[in-house]
Symmetry: C2
Subunit: 358 residues, 2 copies
């Protein structure tokens, strides 16, 4: 029979053709049940391969087997999601075999999820899941169409009678609009806290915060004149400051302070994570600032600044906190161990989600 005869030929042809195109399939990272992790990289010709990871204090060398597969097993590592990369003969590379990439404009790192035995606040758990909408909006401020991500909670009904409060959540400098979901797992954190009734159902809007050359003033305008009106025109949301929060990390934490405190009539909740404030706009807004503290403390129901004690911005953030206190603005500091990391971002967000809109 003709068909039966030619099919094995197709098989031979295609497999070898596919095999030529691609490096061998290897598994990396392999997360073991004891929280150790094996990382692998394939190269016959490389002389030296090292592993960098935010779970390590310094890089570690991989060793090569006879087939050209380099590997190392490390840990046990405290369960969390960590960025890592390889350095191959001096060249930094993301793990070619790992789909999970740190969404960023200046580097390519992979992320590894070590779940542990007890579900973490950012874990995929057996609870109802919200959705993430990838949306396009026109920014009159920036003269372009930009992407934003919108988390809608489980049970969300765009045409129902329920209005939702909104958290505007900004990534760090050189991150993208995807970093809060891809690395920060904002959607799972919200799913889990809503399921536990520790957070109220809310919409979380994750815009793209990088505006060049000057990130700050234009993004404040984009937020108040383009993003918020777009969301309020397209989602069933409350439109008053008691149901509107802004939060952000690093450069996004600085943007949070600028956006929030130049619009205290619009944001009842301001949550700044490890803010980077060495910007002209921060200087302009806060150097000779003479706030009406009584009014602001009434308008802003919650103002938090969160930072890790090993964060390279720790001293700067302490000065920010002192400045707000000196101006009699009520501020709730959250000081935790750890550095300028997305491990801490997830904790900060989980804390904020339990505080806002209550």
């Amino acid at each position: 029979m003709k068909t039966a005869l030619f099919l094995p030929l197709i098989l031979l042809f295609s497999v070898s053709a596919l095999a030529q195109q691609r490096p061998p399939a290897i598994s990396s990272p392999d997360v073991h049940t004891d929280n150790r992790v094996t990382f692998r990289y394939f190269s016959r010709q490389a002389q030296k391969v090292t592993l960098n990871g935010e779970f390590l204090s310094s890089p570690l060398p991989l060793t090569k087997d006879t087939s050209g597969i380099w590997s190392i097993t490390v840990g046990p590592i405290t369960p969390d999601i960590y960025p890592y990369s390889f350095q191959v003969d001096g060249v930094d590379v993301a793990d070619p075999n790992n789909t999970y990439i740190f969404a960023n404009e200046r580097f390519k790192r992979s992320i590894v999820d070590i779940p542990g035995n007890t579900p973490l606040v950012h874990s995929l758990q057996n609870v109802p899941h919200g959705k993430i909408h990838y949306q396009y909006y026109k920014s009159a401020t920036l003269g372009t169409t930009r992407t934003l991500l919108v988390y809608t909670p489980p049970g969300f009904n765009p045409n129902g009678k329920t209005n939702y409060p909104v958290l505007y959540l900004i990534h760090g400098g050189s991150d993208t609009e995807e970093t809060w979901t891809k690395v920060g797992r904002a959607n799972f954190i919200a799913d889990n806290l809503i399921a536990e009734k520790k957070a109220v159902p809310m919409i979380i809007v994750m815009p793209y915060g990088n505006v060049r050359p000057s990130p700050m003033p234009d993004f404040t305008k984009d937020m108040t004149q383009d993003i918020i009106p777009f969301i309020e025109a397209n989602y069933p949301v409350f439109k008053d400051s008691n149901h509107r929060a802004v939060a952000g990390f690093s450069v996004g934490g600085g943007q949070t302070l600028n956006i929030g405190f130049t619009n205290t009539d619009k944001f009842g909740y301001i949550c700044s994570y490890a803010p980077y404030t060495a910007t002209e706009e921060f200087t302009k807004n806060f150097t000779d600032w003479k706030p009406n503290a009584d009014l602001i403390n009434k308008q802003v129901k919650l103002f938090t600044i969160s930072v890790g004690t090993e964060d390279f911005l720790y001293e700067s953030v302490k000065q920010n906190i002192a400045m707000f206190k000196e101006k009699k603005i009520k501020v709730e500091p959250l000081i935790v161990p750890g550095g300028h990391t997305w491990m801490n971002c997830k904790l900060f967000l989980a804390k904020s989600l339990q505080q806002v809109f209550k």
Copy 2:
């Protein structure tokens, strides 16, 4: 004034601290108005940096300036979206300065979008935009919770009286559920064709098709027993075969043939792009296949197989087409120039979207 004095100190501290953490900001790729493109890579220590791209027939060397920035300007290049990567002293890397990554499990490549002067079918145009929903569904077949992406067309109302037809669209082997949107721009192609009334408003479901170790039989079951019921329970869609299509590329093109022709009562449209068919399931399903061609040709309103003449699977795909013809199954071949590429995938999808549900 105390505040005015300490702010400049913060400025100095933070800028230098940030600068230490990161490589210099360089712009890459820079797409020029004449369709030439400049690619840049920073390394003081690298000895050799080359550019690989699907717009090139062979790699080209970059040259280094005194500041350690390697660059090359190529083209003009025919407007399209192309994968590319650098090779740095023998190590393949994605462009560290380019956010747009080819969503894939086995390699990390960047993508460059050369828009040209005339909007292409995949370009972001000034038309109403649909949304992409990132969703989670429980697969009883696979015993896990998996992601899928759902494109909903402009004006989509989840609670309205309108039901939509559904295209199930499968990526290639080692791609991910994001490849059809991130690389294939399926959402923009649909937006543009719907705006021109060349395609009917439809829902496009993009699941994750990789099932290991055996991709085929389990994914067919996942599709018919988990994914389709999930979509039909959660979206306002028609549930008959006249309003259900399946399409896919490469391994996904093989999955399309397996899913479609073992379920001709369920899929009125079967569109296979450069199918990879060297699989046990294909052999099992089609070697001694004695189809009721009359019945199938009534059930399946459209069956297309698309491939490029430079595709490494071209001979195999021609044999597939011959096999279906020999079995008297009506098949519409689409043979175009080009290889096993996502440039061709976009064309194939654009063609299918204009054919289905009509």
